[in-house]
């Protein structure tokens, strides 16, 4: 019997070890040359869902995309459980190191809108950078504040508490928005900074674009930030934001295009792809909270050839599908940068 016990102990430990290392030795995904799986940001999802049938008929590549959020996309491509990831925020140094041989390629361009819930107010809310940052810092707390009234004098804004709403999960939209706030407010920069999340000094957090939009629609006096395609789909009322030329602008295609007009003539790294708070020479139309969104691809993988084809198609032909969804086609120098990065994907 001792032998039996010994034997079963061996079996047990083998099973226990198998449990713990099981994930690492899982069988590789089956090879199917005509399909690509991706996961990541919700921001480009409306555009990608237009791309999927088109790229399917052009190349016979069957693309699947799960909009699980930028953070999830980065985690998935780092673990190589998908063929490509997507993120609205460029990868941090630690994230790039962890991803081991990944390229980050800009593949869409759009804007972050500021939806709000002010029942009975007919006119469009006009927001200055000062007001927006001080709302999120918790310094302006009521809609009847004189700083807001200065630019919305005739609207008759109510005596109502302002509830700024932010994303509780890590998000590329948060990155673009906090980048903007850090640019326009020194206090914000030192207190909270730029990142996919922050130590929010005021307001309420909610999970995902749908979460923040849900809180805004349920809370009179709330405002938040979410990509313009989402606001459009869900018919949220969005505010106009003051740019450096002293004009209040809406998050439309011309506003995004004007913001992108001041990018350097040659792009060599994605650090140069900052669009928030563009200088005065961007023009009167420039909407100040625009952002690129990125695809993350491994430089070597079994499906590299298809992946290159797909991403190349996305940054060229794919751009023409964007306008109805308020995605501005990539500027030429950004497209050229994307081409150079695509070349790094070895097949």
């Amino acid at each position: 019997m001792k032998v039996v016990l010994g034997l079963s102990l061996v079996v047990t430990s083998v099973v226990a070890i198998a449990f713990t290392v099981g994930t690492a030795t899982a069988a590789p995904a089956e090879k199917q040359d005509t399909s690509l799986t991706g996961a990541g940001a919700t921001f480009p999802y409306p555009l990608i869902s237009k791309w999927i049938p088109a790229v399917g008929s052009a190349y016979g590549i069957n693309v699947n995309y799960s909009p699980i959020g930028s953070g999830g996309g980065i985690a998935a491509i780092t673990a190589r459980t998908v063929d490509f990831g997507a993120s609205d925020a460029p990868l941090s140094k630690d994230q790039l190191d962890a991803c081991k041989g990944c390229v980050v390629i800009p593949w869409a361009l759009s804007a972050i809108s500021i939806p709000y819930n002010l029942p009975g107010i007919k006119c469009v809310l006009r927001l200055t950078p000062n007001v927006l940052s001080r709302i999120y810092l918790g310094e302006i707390t009521n809609w009847n504040d004189p700083n807001i009234a200065k630019n919305n004098g005739t609207c008759g804004l109510p005596d109502l508490k302002i509830t700024p709403v932010y994303r509780s999960d890590n998000s590329g939209s948060t990155y673009a928005f906090t980048d903007y706030l850090s640019n326009v407010s020194g206090t914000w920069k030192s207190k909270a900074g730029t990142g996919v999340n922050a130590q929010w000094p005021a307001g309420v957090g909610a999970r995902g674009s749908s979460g923040v939009a849900g809180v805004v629609t349920k809370t009179p006096g709330a405002l938040t930030y979410v990509d313009i395609a989402y606001s459009l789909q869900n018919k949220l009322r969005v505010g106009w934001v003051l740019n450096k030329s002293g004009k209040f602008t809406s998050p439309g295609l011309r506003g995004i295009q004007a913001s992108a007009s001041v990018l350097p003539k040659k792009i060599t790294s994605f650090d140069q792809l900052k669009l928030v708070d563009p200088p005065k020479n961007a023009g009167a139309l420039a909407y100040p909270i625009s952002t690129f969104t990125y695809v993350i691809a491994p430089t070597s993988a079994s499906k590299s050839a298809d992946l290159r084809k797909f991403i190349y198609w996305a940054v060229t032909r794919g751009q023409t599908y964007g306008k109805p969804l308020l995605f501005q086609p990539l500027p030429l120098q950004v497209q050229a940068f994307a081409f150079r990065e695509i070349k790094k994907i070895k097949s």
């Binding site: 079963s8 102990l9 099973v15 953070g71 630690d94 509780s168 309420v204 909610a206 849900g214």
Partner: protein, 323 residues
């Protein structure tokens, strides 16, 4: 070698062998199951602590009492989340314990059998609601109701208490604690019902025969008899309240500060891990999140062990008094 050597006395060696194989297999499977669970727990704890180690080295124990979580300045501290975890769980237990005991007593002592069975099923079905659905209900229905009706009402009557001061908010400590209450009631009430149904009939009958009222019989006989079990049920509920992540994340509002009031957004250990682990921007943030996980693990283990100790002590005391 004993298994292969045929027993010379056995008349039917093949049959004996078959039976022995079954025994051996059963023993093996049972052992694998038992040792496997223990091994997984051990390995899991090891992995959590190993991944949290860089943050432990960086911040030491001061992490536990540091208030602040700023991923953009690499400032991490657990105090806000420990506070949120303890306060939400405490409120949830404070509300769920008397309610669960009342539900259980109603079902075993008061309600007619025809009513008791469907009500018991309904209460248990409450446990079958996925927490993410409960969380959605929290966002869309319950949170706004709390902000528009419950919190203003609390403020108008008990506004002098600092815990009910400030502006009502649809996401915060109070709605999270109430959602947790709803989640632990089915667990604790089901156990309490089981306990009360096992109170020996002759004990309560005897108490009634001696002239006590029904309430006195419940208070003097049923509750003392079930007390150790009730305390275990409460601690089981506490474990649930500590660890719940998704529903809490959806209604607590991911706050970054400690407030005296229960209205503003707060956060718990489990909910902060659930909401920010994916896509954490630096390695140190990942390590710090696992440090939070290690703290949660320790808190949960301590409550479970103390539950065992309390139950044992109660049982010993009862044996002393009855025997």
């Amino acid at each position: 070698m004993s298994i292969i050597t045929p027993d010379p006395v056995a008349p039917d060696a093949i049959e004996r062998h078959g039976i022995r194989l079954g025994d051996v297999l059963f023993k093996g499977v049972a052992l694998v199951a038992a040792v496997g669970v223990a091994a997984i727990l051990g390995l899991l704890a090891y992995k959590v602590f190993a991944l949290a180690w860089p943050a432990m080295q960086e911040y030491g124990f001061s992490f536990i009492w540091t208030e602040g979580w700023n991923p953009n300045a690499n400032v991490y501290g657990a105090l806000v989340f420990i506070y949120g975890t303890v306060v939400t769980a405490f409120i949830a237990l404070l509300l769920a314990t008397p309610l669960s005991i009342a539900i259980a007593l109603f079902l075993t002592e008061i309600a007619p059998r025809r009513l008791a069975a469907p009500v018991a099923t309904m209460v248990e079905l409450l446990a079958a609601i996925p927490s993410v659905v409960l969380g959605l209900w929290g966002i869309l229905v319950f949170g706004p109701w709390v902000a528009q009706h419950l919190e203003p009402w609390l403020q108008s009557w008990f506004g002098f208490l600092p815990i009910f001061s400030g502006d009502p908010s649809q996401a915060g400590m109070l709605p999270a604690a109430l959602v947790l209450t709803i989640m632990i009631i089915p667990i604790t009430s089901a156990i309490c019902r089981e306990l009360f149904s096992r109170v020996p009939r002759d004990l309560s009958d005897g108490s009634l025969a001696l002239g006590s009222t029904r309430w006195e019989a419940i208070r003097r006989v049923a509750i003392p008899y079930a007390a150790p079990g009730i305390s275990a049920a409460v601690l089981l509920g506490l474990g649930r309240a500590f660890g719940e992540a998704i529903a809490v994340t959806q209604v607590i509002g991911s706050g970054n500060t400690i407030n005296r009031s229960l209205f503003p957004p707060a956060d718990t250990l489990a909910s902060r891990i659930a909401s920010t682990y994916q896509g954490a921007s630096s390695d140190l943030e990942v390590n710090s999140l696992l440090y939070l996980g290690a703290i949660l693990l320790v808190i949960s283990l301590v409550t479970n062990v103390s539950a065992q100790v309390i139950v044992n002590r109660f049982q010993k005391a009862r044996r002393m008094s009855t025997g």
